[in-house]
Assembly symmetry: C2
């Protein structure tokens, strides 16, 4: 484990460029260019109108276009203020073109906006992952208020959804068929605050992490058309109580592939639950650490650790809790071109974990 | 009083462009472009090698070249890591050229470095102000450790100094004559952490604010060649004690033009002192608020207020404590093109104060 960079400002997401350099988003609004060794090479010039940095919101994830080598396109998720009513905001996705020297992102256009915008500073989602067909998955939180969490079951609203869009922001061809009135970009629903997303290297499925309430943190195989149950079904409890949010299973909903009801992953033995608070996730496809191959790595904020989940097909078979001794809130994990894992910490560090 | 912007990340310094737009530095490394109305228009693309964002350090002040209209030059102060020994850092000044659209700062060159670099994350200074001859004053802190505070009296070191340099970073012509071995860029010395600086509109003198220890916060008329006494003479006390740092006056040193020994500016009545912690300062030269004309405005961090100091020539004749009800740490103040005062707060706001 080596610390590659310090002094980043609430780093949230990252994307490796083809030459090994790294773009890192800072929730406070910066997009930083780092060398492969972690030196901060500079701030990328960038205009994101109506960016709101408040609570959990700000600049969040970054993803490269599948054809980045030829078109230089970069996608950013961020919380966007409603210019007509500054009390309201919502997750949005912008697309821009990175200059050849990677110092400027120009022609920045907002291609997608979560609807409706609401008065909240929490539960934005919002990871960006391309599928194998070049469509963009965007994870969207429920925006947290008691009313809004119910909207995760409402197909006419963007709360608590995964959407799948084209690079122009339109609903992607091949999305599930929904009842009339549903948002056509919807991929799956019934989520709370999915803050991690990764494509399974063998199946192409989208896997996500989801912040449960008190307990009930989840890993979901986010298949097309599925309802993951929030807030009708959950393994978690209402905050400050031992009252279950709902039943753990419910007909018509899909249960999690993995669930945590304690912050450190020990079995829950009754009483109040707690939450590791999972954020960014990545499947490991490298050979540098052979025993990691095919594992799903899950960062943890409140749990201050990195989870290594082993899988057999679509079944999670076990977990290992790593890096807890560092005692850092971990926000995102990506596999680097060198086959190591790269981690972002809420206290501003880029870590390299690997041989 | 209106809040013009929120969500800035530890904003530290600002400079109005000729068209009324505003550059704001964020200590966490960002340089933001704002409209005159406070909308964040974007991040300015920028490379500051070896920027270290830690403790009180990071990206700090910004100033425009006196010939900015023709040369587009912008100056930034920041804390710079020693590439050869990452434990060490020091205040540095970089110069760059702002593109016509104000979206990119290119050809960034470090023109000046405080010497020596030390292992500390505090007391960097570092305000940038041009004098009437187009020379650049840079305020430099003592770097705080017990050993380093003594260096404020050592003319061979940059600790606790004001320096005056050319736009290429060389010692400016007309600087005071010093003993052999002294740094030729030195303008005045014996300061602790001068975090505010402004040119008096009538005299052209440099006035600075200085963080005292516990008590002993100062406003200094920072005339050429003067020794302001730190740490040999001070009005303040050693932290956590009632022990004076030294005598209040000392032959050969120049006393402050104003001093605070209590956080709220009430007379000190014995016991432990406290400090308003003054940061950015500005003389008001506008007519929008006639009764402010010629006053010196001083932001206060721990004191969470704006001081209005009245002057008669070089004598401070009184103080008024403003904006205390907002209860915000105020970092910098500048007069805007509309004759109002603009303030930056540590919690990320740009405020407009005026009619």
């Amino acid at each position: 484990m080596t610390t590659r960079a310090t002094g980043l400002s609430s780093p949230w997401g990252m994307a490796f460029l083809l030459d090994g350099r790294l773009l890192v988003t800072e929730r406070t609004g910066g997009l930083k260019l780092l060398s492969g060794e972690g030196s901060v090479l500079g701030n990328v010039g960038l205009a994101l109108p109506n960016l709101v940095v408040e609570g959990q919101g700000g600049l969040m994830d970054v993803a490269l276009d599948p054809a980045f080598a030829s078109n230089g396109r970069v996608y950013l998720s961020f919380s966007e203020r409603d210019p007509g009513n500054p009390a309201l905001n919502g997750t949005a996705v912008a697309r821009g073109e990175l200059s050849a020297d990677a110092r400027t992102l120009s022609n920045v256009t907002v291609i997608y906006r979560q609807q409706p915008k609401v008065a909240s500073t929490a539960h934005f989602g919002s990871r960006l992952v391309f599928d194998r067909e070049g469509r963009l998955w965007v994870t969207l939180g429920d925006r947290r208020t008691n009313e809004q969490r119910g909207f995760a079951q409402d197909l006419t609203r963007g709360n608590g959804k995964v959407v799948r869009i084209t690079t122009d922001g339109a609903p992607a061809p091949g999305n599930p068929t929904w009842p009339a009135g549903a948002l056509a970009e919807t991929w799956s629903y019934g989520l709370r605050n999915p803050q991690g997303a990764a494509v399974h290297p063998a199946t192409g499925d989208l896997w996500t992490s989801d912040h449960g309430p008190q307990g009930g943190d989840e890993i979901n195989r986010t298949v097309a058309g599925a309802n993951f149950g929030w807030p009708l079904a959950s393994h978690g409890q209402e905050y400050g109580t031992t009252t279950p949010v709902g039943p753990q299973t419910l007909a018509g909903t899909v249960g999690p592939a993995w669930v945590w009801n304690t912050r450190d992953g020990q079995p829950w033995t009754g009483g109040a639950m707690s939450s590791p608070a999972p954020a960014g996730i990545s499947f490991y496809t490298g050979t540098a650490v052979p025993q990691w191959n095919g594992n799903l790595f899950v960062t943890s904020l409140a749990g201050r650790a990195l989870w290594r989940l082993t899988l057999d097909g679509n079944t999670v078979t076990g977990q290992e809790r790593l890096l807890a001794s560092r005692n850092q809130r971990l926000r995102d994990v990506e596999q680097g071109p060198d086959g190591a894992l790269y981690l972002l910490t809420d206290d501003g560090q880029l870590l390299r974990y690997g041989p």
